[in-house]
């Protein structure tokens, strides 16, 4: 299974970015990925536009959120801003 970032969930479509190369984008019907939300990191087996299996990586999602939030906070609080 590959890891993906759920970039958006909109208009009945889920947009996934392949984490090892986010220039690769996959758009799937939302019904194939029930329960996923924006910013979730998931592991998924996708073949010919169909999701064969997937899992929401809750711990990794949380860890990445904390890491990126820290970067965001650093920019917000940087002197001169």
């Amino acid at each position: 299974m590959e890891k993906y970032t759920v970039d958006s969930v909109r208009d009945g479509r889920v947009t996934l970015l392949l984490r090892r190369d986010e220039s690769v984008k996959i758009v799937l019907p939302q019904a194939q990925l029930p329960g996923v939300q924006e910013s979730d990191i998931i592991s998924a087996a996708i073949s010919q536009g169909r999701v064969e299996d997937f899992k929401i990586e809750k711990a990794e999602t949380q860890a990445v959120k904390v890491k990126i939030q820290a970067k965001l906070d650093k920019l917000k609080n940087r002197p001169g801003n």
Binding site: T5, R10, D11, S23, S39, V64, I68, L72, R78, N81
Partner: protein, 393 residues
């Protein structure tokens, strides 16, 4: 008499009169110098888009003839001749006649040479009093360049795949520095090209909704802001930026952005210049539009960047009734898998008699205004029937 003829003839007569007031052979040298200044003025105005490019070619040719006249006259004067030689008189007459008859015909008479490409990049851009808004065709995504004579601003940088295209487009418009960049929200189709932009240009400030996203694209974007030392400001409704020359950018949204709904964190702005205004919505949806309406901001605008690529979840009737745009721009990729723009949205604009431009059909779409009149240029033409028809599902 048109303005070009008046300026040209007045400058020529003025130069000759001033030259005649001086004694000695230096008068013709002075004439040449005055021509040099005259040409410089015209070129400067042309570089800012003040004249059609072909006018400048004609002016250059005419002035070359006139300068040759001055030189012949000057040499004759130094050789002791009191009267101007016949060659000089003939050349001057040719220059006068050519100017008189060809200046008003310039844009039909010659091929459309891209004179701006010959000039240094810092001289490209918009004319002194003009504001240009470029909706760059980046496929499914947003990237909008706003240019005044003295400032450049970018709203979004398209998807990652369009980063180079955005950089090339900006370079083509003479951009060397961006005074302000707005990242409307963290979705890849809006910020994917930002790293390319930050690498290519000096950026003074980034405005961002300030909510976290877990994509590497977003993380790389934050890293680039840090590495480049760009000022980072969290955008909030009620803020504004003065772009100079009477041009102002008001921030209408967000108020309470949340990372659980990135579209709802979209930075929505209204750009105003004298009688003309533009509204840029990012991917704001009807709930966000309602929030903006409840705030009571001035929303009336001539041009609306349609929210979320023409999705039915945006452009509510209440919002449209407040903005009352004459033009709407839908930034959308051809054959996109979201089926944007949706027919319901197109129907709303058609019913409101709004002229719609779509980047999938029209390519790059450019609005130029002096604060009163608006001119629209598109890369391609499209039939009205196609514009108001959604892509098949």
């Amino acid at each position: 008499m048109d303005i070009e003829r008046i300026i040209w003839i007045a400058s020529l007569i003025g130069a000759i009169l001033v030259a005649m007031l001086r004694k000695g052979g230096g008068r013709f040298g002075l004439l040449i110098c005055l021509y040099g200044g005259f040409m410089y003025g015209f070129l400067s105005m042309a570089a800012q888009g003040g004249f059609e490019a072909n006018y400048i070619v004609i002016i250059l040719i005419i002035n070359a003839v006139a300068v040759a006249t001055g030189l012949i006259w000057l040499l004759a004067s130094r050789a002791g001749k009191k009267k101007p030689p016949a060659t000089a008189v003939l050349l001057l007459a040719v220059a006068l006649a050519a100017g008189w008859y060809t200046l008003p015909l310039a844009d039909q008479a010659l091929p459309d040479w891209d004179i701006a490409a010959w000039l240094p990049s810092s001289q490209k851009g918009v004319a002194g009093d003009d504001l240009a808004v470029h909706y760059i065709d980046v496929g499914q995504g947003d990237s909008i360049l706003i240019q005044t004579a003295s400032k450049n601003m970018l709203i979004d940088a398209g998807p990652r795949s369009a980063g180079e295209r955005v950089v090339e487009y900006l370079q083509g418009q003479g951009v060397e520095k961006l005074d302000l960049v707005i990242s409307t929200h963290a979705h890849e189709d809006h910020i994917g090209g930002m790293v390319d932009v930050f690498t290519a240009f000096t950026v003074d400030e980034v405005l961002d909704p300030g909510v976290v996203h877990t994509s590497k694209t977003f993380e790389n974007y934050l890293d680039a802001i840090e590495d480049e030392g760009i000022t980072f400001t969290v955008a909030e409704a009620g803020m504004s930026r003065d772009l100079g020359d009477g041009i102002k950018m008001d921030i209408l949204h967000p108020t309470n952005p949340s990372s659980s709904d990135l579209n709802a964190s979209s930075v929505v702005t209204r750009l105003s210049y004298s009688d003309v205004a533009f509204v840029f919505t990012g991917d704001a949806e009807s709930g966000d539009e309602k929030e903006i309406l409840e705030h009571g901001f001035t929303l009336r605008a001539d041009v609306l960047k349609v929210g979320h690529h023409g999705s039915a979840t945006s452009s509510s009737s209440d919002f449209l009734n407040k903005v009352r745009p004459t033009y709407a721009v839908i930034t959308v990729g051809e054959g996109n898998t979201y089926f944007h723009p949706h027919q319901e949205t197109l129907d709303r604009f058609e019913a409101a008699n709004v002229q719609v431009f779509r980047s999938d059909l029209h390519g790059d779409i450019v609005f130029i205004t002096d604060g009163i009149e608006i001119e629209v240029n598109t890369e391609r033409q499209a039939e009205s029937g196609d514009v108001f028809t959604a892509p098949p599902r």
